[in-house]
Symmetry: C2
Subunit: 447 residues, 2 copies
């Protein structure tokens, strides 16, 4: 039986249990199933609907306050007033595409490039992380003349056919490309006895390159999400990347850092996931948090990588880079500066992770508490020694937190790694509330 | 020498002429070239920058009023107050994704489906027309088990790798898929002597199906933009589609109507490009005008076509269907109802096309004035009898109109068909101004 994408969600609504849902929600779900079809998943056994958001908080129709420790899109907080104001003003003034000269477009592109290492200088805007990754692959293929792509074993890079083809996380219903090879994430438990992480990652990379060569594809790109979000969350590992990238370069390929998850100060230690590694990617892609909810994404290239594609293929994205999304992106950067978001996220994240670690240190069902910046992961297992993933228990923790009105989810091949990834607006009071609730849930589920 | 995408633009800025541009614009373009690279094309030899928009009008920094007879994205008018207000309100209230229950999402999906024939019932939202078409192809392949795709000879369906692969309009820099076959658009001049359009289109379709079968791909989908925008604009032809679709169905494929251009009342005679043909597509995709500039697109499926994909693959588009884009889409439909946009567009379009026809009827350089609804096309040729495309003259007309501060462009394989495609906010006064300016330009360039 194939593993389907939906099965990788820890707590989701099962339509066969529609009768158990309270009437107003049931009516909404029935209409939803009719008009949106089976492809639209609802989070939680007991689904939730919100009517208002502010900061890291979402409110339902009864005014109940949910703490959002899951959504990375509203990076500076749900409905941040500065972003709302800037976007509303732009909406009322002008919204044209990039084929007319625009000051705001160039200003924002320059601000974005200034956040990246010097060789990354050419920006192309799009709407979604999928579009950005899709473009990055087109450019990588065009530049290298190769077809092969190396990704992690449970990677997720998006939903166009091309990037779905490099996203094993989508499950067996969605085929990988014949030109795609998967390698381990930097999970220390996967390193063979006596080895080290860097050597293991290098071996993995080398084997993939060799296999792509043997099949005549060559290596166009190594694509990594440096938070390794869907592989189980390993942002804090270090020391292995330079060797992998050197190997890929030697094979004529490029390194694409997919910063849709790790970027925009999510994992601390610099603004981007690649920052801690001392490696400068050839292409960086970014998305979700970039416009705080207004669709905006980008791929940024080393000039020599993008040149031929830019001259020979061109690329016009109707909405990408148009005035309103750009105003959203600029407003997000304003807030990052005004509120010193990266510093706050790093500080709050450290406190949150330390608190979680202290709470769960002695749990027989917690194999690891890890993470970086404002991204925390808890690996839940049947028992510590055997380390077998305990998916059912993980789901109970998520549902328990949802009862406390705190939103989290899970990741990893075993769907047993709690994914705690709040808006970067998350503050100390939010951290206190989170830890207090987790303590109660852990007392029930993790002892 | 390969034909590149950029070469298909009639009037575009040539960076080698940067010295001739006035200082403020020159500074902007220099910075733009540095940070965006060569892939970002600027419309017009003499580029333009706007600071404000309203209705079918755009204004530059000196307050000069440009008449927009080209942009289809701001369908109900640039910065329409109702859309601005609705989107701003939603932005300040809530913006979450589809994995939480949302009334607005279901309400809008139902309104959208109500605008389509009954079998088209399942909506999936995305950000761009490219994403919608990419998804439509994934679903078509999954449903049919085939790989082959049939499109028009100069079709354009978007910019992901998958849909770029079915977009010959992108030029030789961008490869078509091995599984893609191209057929003539419904251009009466392509019909062999003694034949009729319907038979010719059927022959074309049959040949493509046969060739796909011989190559082992089978036929997954026929994809048509029923305005045939990039093939030279032939929305008004009729009587040929049912036979083509029957042939595709008999081969086990589906028919995808790409309504990114023709839809939302652009071509009159019903809300969609397929409406005049009495054919109900298996999948309809839509984009550009849908959110009046907020990124929003959709693919709508017959339930039986979408079922397996929905159950086995799932599809989560982070921004597609989130609260703000949905609010934009709903506000656009409000304006369509309140201002009776389709009726106005049909009436104004008929007057515009009649006026253009009357002005240019005697021009030795105009082979045809055609179009439908608020989409007008003028085919410009060296002389009427030979009908050789006159691209240089077409560009002079476009530049002449730009001097009069009226925005139009050109389409077609010869880049010699004026593309007059204003926001549907275009009114009688706009039509008067357009015709008056065209008369002056035609006196110089088309006599």
């Amino acid at each position: 039986m194939a593993t389907l994408a939906a099965e990788r969600y820890p707590s989701r609504f099962d339509p066969s249990r529609l009768d158990e849902v309270e009437p107003a929600m049931r009516a909404n779900i029935e209409r939803r199933l009719d008009v949106l079809g089976p492809g639209y998943l609802l989070i939680y056994n007991d689904p939730v609907a919100f009517v208002r958001g502010r900061g890291a908080h979402l409110f339902d129709a009864d005014g109940r306050d949910y703490l959002d420790a899951y959504n990375n899109v509203p990076v500076v907080g749900h409905c941040h007033p500065h972003v709302v104001e800037a976007v509303s003003r732009q909406l009322a003034t002008l919204n044209t595409n990039t084929r007319y000269a625009q000051e705001g477009l160039v200003d924002y592109a320059e601000r974005l490039v200034a956040l990246l290492p010097e060789p990354l200088q050419r920006v192309t805007f799009a709407c979604s992380g999928s579009e950005a990754n899709d473009l990055a692959l087109r450019v990588a293929r065009h530049h290298t003349g190769h077809e092969g792509v190396i990704v992690n074993r449970y990677a997720y890079h998006g939903i166009t056919r091309e990037v779905a083809g490099i996203s094993p996380a989508l499950g067996e219903g969605s085929p990988l490309g014949a030109n795609v090879r998967v390698i381990d994430p930097p999970d220390p438990t996967l390193v063979p006895a006596g080895g080290d992480l860097a050597s293991h990652m290098l071996d993995e990379t080398w084997r993939a390159i060799h296999d792509l060569r043997r099949h005549g594809f060559g290596t166009a790109a190594l694509v990594l999400d440096l938070s390794f979000m869907s592989d189980g969350i390993f942002p804090e590992q270090d020391g292995y990347l330079q060797g992998m990238v050197d190997e890929v370069h030697a094979a004529g390929g490029v390194f694409i850092a997919d910063e849709v998850q790790a970027g925009f100060a999510r994992v601390g230690a610099g603004f981007w996931g690649f920052a801690r590694h001392g490696v400068v990617p050839d292409i960086v892609t970014m998305g979700k948090p970039m416009g705080n909810g207004i669709p905006l994404s980008a791929a940024v290239f080393r000039p020599e990588v993008a040149r031929d594609f830019g001259e020979q293929v061109r690329y016009f994205n109707t909405f990408g880079g148009s005035s309103v999304p750009i105003a959203a992106g600029a407003a997000v950067l304003d807030v990052f500066e005004q509120e010193r978001v990266p510093e706050r996220a790093e500080r709050v994240g450290a406190r949150l992770r330390a608190g979680i670690g202290a709470l769960l240190a002695d749990s027989p069902h917690v194999a690891d508490v890890r993470g970086s910046g404002l991204l925390a992961a808890v690996e839940i297992v049947e028992d510590r020694d055997g380390r077998a993933p305990d998916r059912a228990r993980t789901t109970r923790v998520i549902d328990g937190m949802r009862e406390q009105r705190i939103l989290i989810s899970a990741a990893g091949p075993g769907v047993n790694v709690l994914k705690i990834r709040p808006p970067l607006a998350f503050d100390d009071a939010d951290t206190d509330r989170f830890l207090e609730s987790l303590e109660g849930v852990a007392r029930r589920e993790l002892r």
